[in-house]
Amino acid sequence: MEFSIYDFTSFTKSLDKLLNENMSSFWATSIEMLLIGVGILAFYALVGLFLVYAERKVCAFIQNRVGPNRVGPYGIIQTIADLFKLLMKELIPIKNADKLLFNIAPFIVIIASFLAIAAIPFAKGLHAIDFNIGIFYVIAVSSMGVIGVLLAGWSSNNKYSLIGAMRSGAQIVSYELSVGLSLITMVIFAGSMQFSVIVEAQRDGWFLFRGHIPAIIAFVVYLIACTAETNRGPFDLAEAESELTAGYHVEYSGIKFAFFFLAEYMNMFIVASIAATVFLGGWMPLHVGGFSGFNHVMDFIPPFFWYIGKTFFIIFIMMLFKWTFPRLRIDQLLTLEWKYLLPINLVNVVLMALIVLNGWHF
């Protein structure tokens, strides 16, 4: 079994071969699924813990503070300690709540983010499934989370959570459009919805640089829209702690609250990794035409780190959004989408189509 951190294709292929040689194809597939499941679960937990820590540190440094620094060196074990605290907390049953929906809601939210992570290519040959409609699948699946939010808000039998859920519904339904359209702009450019094809197409230069102005506009619009879709930053109307205390998850406690909490960070990770894949070349290293020495050095860095680096860069930008801007009002949120982002996006799609038709790109 050969193994290289630059190309996982041969590794996954040989693993597949090994399993299929030794058992029936049913069992081989089952074991593969199990392995992937466990792998993603572990990755998920790890990223979640790290992101919570990262956000605390980033916001602390922005706000002239130190952030967590008591549990472990530089406070790195803080999130694990918090996890244990959340696990041990009492799950408070709510009187007059819709028990079934109340309990199901956090799972829907977290499953939606689980499903989306499956299609994302982490490195060459390192993805669970490579759909030919990858982008479409991710958009479809990630917007499932809003059902969980709506259910949570409705079933808690709390006025604050109900208002929060209604806001969230209006918000996600409208911002889904912008996310979709800005990704479609790039799909037009790439000519495919398959993630592996999109990444391969960026071998000689990332789409953000190759795609002229429409790509940059699409990137900015995507950043804004995906921040809104993850209920974060200036768009956290559904939680709005100064208005609705905690919005839709006001009645949740313990591990159920942790699910919402984790799902928020994972959604952020997913949208950031889509942005990294579609606009910044995914796991492709930075190549500048003509500088072969420079390109060689860049190639030396493993693709997985490229991917993680780009994703965290976008996550950092989203964190900067959140810790800088005041929150929008519900009508301004919708104004921004329907009066600004959507028309810009539509014009942008047409522009991109023109560029692709005439072959004006690099």
Partner: protein
């Protein structure tokens, strides 16, 4: 035909009551706002106060005059020194004592520092109400410097009790002037950062402009004073109208804005911080020599009569009304608190606006609950 009447036949329209508070992050304390809402729109607001009513006015009737000073701290704890000053001025007025210029200068500088500190805290909590959490830490970071100055000279940070009838508790610390000048130099540099971060921000402007309008007539009628009143063109600065302490020695402008909305109130406070720094700069180098406290009798007895003193606290006009029967305890003390009057205008301002607007309006009124409840 479908009309307003028959469209909802069979549907009983109920009021959707949303209870904001007593424990709610943006009521700045234990204020309860009972809002009837329709969707996102607030139809009616009914403030319920009294959750920390401590009966201070009743307590004063049992205390001697110097002992009441420490209760005035606990009304509007963010402008504690100004409240102290108001009470002491009222007692001095009754006793017909003219304090030395040194006391007047120090009192004025302290009051203006208090005003800056209070507006800083208002700025950070207003930013937080709007959802920009970073503002909170920048504001508190700078306020800490003023509190350090207070602590060094007065011995306490929040509830200070620095003024006494007839003077001050202690003379200023030798470092005081140096530190105040350092602070003003520092804050003149930091204040533009506030503007960059929040004032100029397009989201903040959109959320504040045209929201929570109150006309000049309503502002006067409701007694909305201080920066909230001056945002509606109501020229109510007591420092100009009835100069007390050292305000007659300094040149400053009364900040007035006529838009009457949340943004006007915001801008009045931001400009007032600059104006306060101007006042301090005029006074800090010229503190005259003299006693820091006038000679007072051991037991202070006010001559029979009624005395009223108005001062400009950080949130509006603060008044002390003392009725004396010639004994060592006052017969009746009434504190006219600015927040109580400002709160009464909340329903007028926030009616038919969104829930998020109610929070912004509340933030711009900057209520301190102990001052409302007394």
């Amino acid at each position: 035909m479908i009309t307003e009447e028959n469209i909802n036949v069979g549907i009983k329209e109920e009021e959707f009551i949303l209870n904001m508070g007593p424990q709610h992050p943006s009521t700045h304390g234990v204020l309860r706002l009972v809002c009837s809402i329709k969707g996102e729109i607030v139809k009616n607001i009914e403030p319920h106060c009294g959750y920390i009513h401590r009966g201070i006015e009743k307590m004063t009737e049992k205390l001697t005059y110097p002992q009441i000073v420490h209760l005035t701290d606990r009304l509007d704890y963010l402008s504690a020194l100004i409240n102290n000053e108001a009470y002491c001025l009222c007692v001095e007025k009754a006793l017909e004592i003219e304090v030395s210029d040194r006391i007047k200068y120090i009192r004025t500088i302290m009051s203006e520092l208090t005003r800056i500190a209070s507006h800083q805290l208002w700025w950070c909590s207003f930013g937080m109400d709007l959802g920009g959490l970073t503002c909170f830490f920048y504001g508190l970071r700078d306020r800490e410097k003023i509190l350090d100055i207070f602590e060094e000279t007065c011995g306490s940070r929040l509830i200070i009790s620095y003024n006494t009838p007839g003077g001050l508790m202690a003379d200023i610390h030798p470092n005081f002037q140096k530190k105040v000048k350092e602070f003003i130099k520092y804050f003149r540099k930091t204040l533009p950062e506030y503007d960059q971060l929040l004032t100029g921000n397009v989201i903040m402007q959109e959320r504040c402009k045209g929201v929570g309008y109150i006309s000049k007539e309503d502002a006067i009628s409701y007694g909305v004073t201080g920066p909230s009143g001056r945002g509606s063109c109501f020229s109510c600065d007591v420092r100009k109208k009835e100069p007390y302490s050292a305000y007659k020695f300094v040149n400053f402008n009364e900040v007035l804005r006529c838009e009457g909305d949340t943004f006007a109130r915001y801008m009045v406070r931001m400009d007032e911080m600059r104006e306060s720094m101007n006042i301090i700069e005029q006074l800090i180098d010229n503190i005259p020599e003299g006693p820091y406290a006038e000679k007072m009798k051991g037991v202070i007895k006010l001559p029979e009569g009624e005395y009223y003193q108005r001062v400009e606290a950080a949130r509006g006009e603060f008044g002390v009304y003392i009725v004396s029967k010639g004994e060592k305890n006052p017969y009746r003390v009434k504190f006219r608190s600015p927040n109580f009057s400002n709160l009464s205008a909340l329903n007028t301002m926030a009616k038919n606006q969104k829930i998020a607007d109610l929070i912004a309006i509340g933030g711009s009124l900057d209520y301190v609950i102990p001052d409302i409840d007394r």
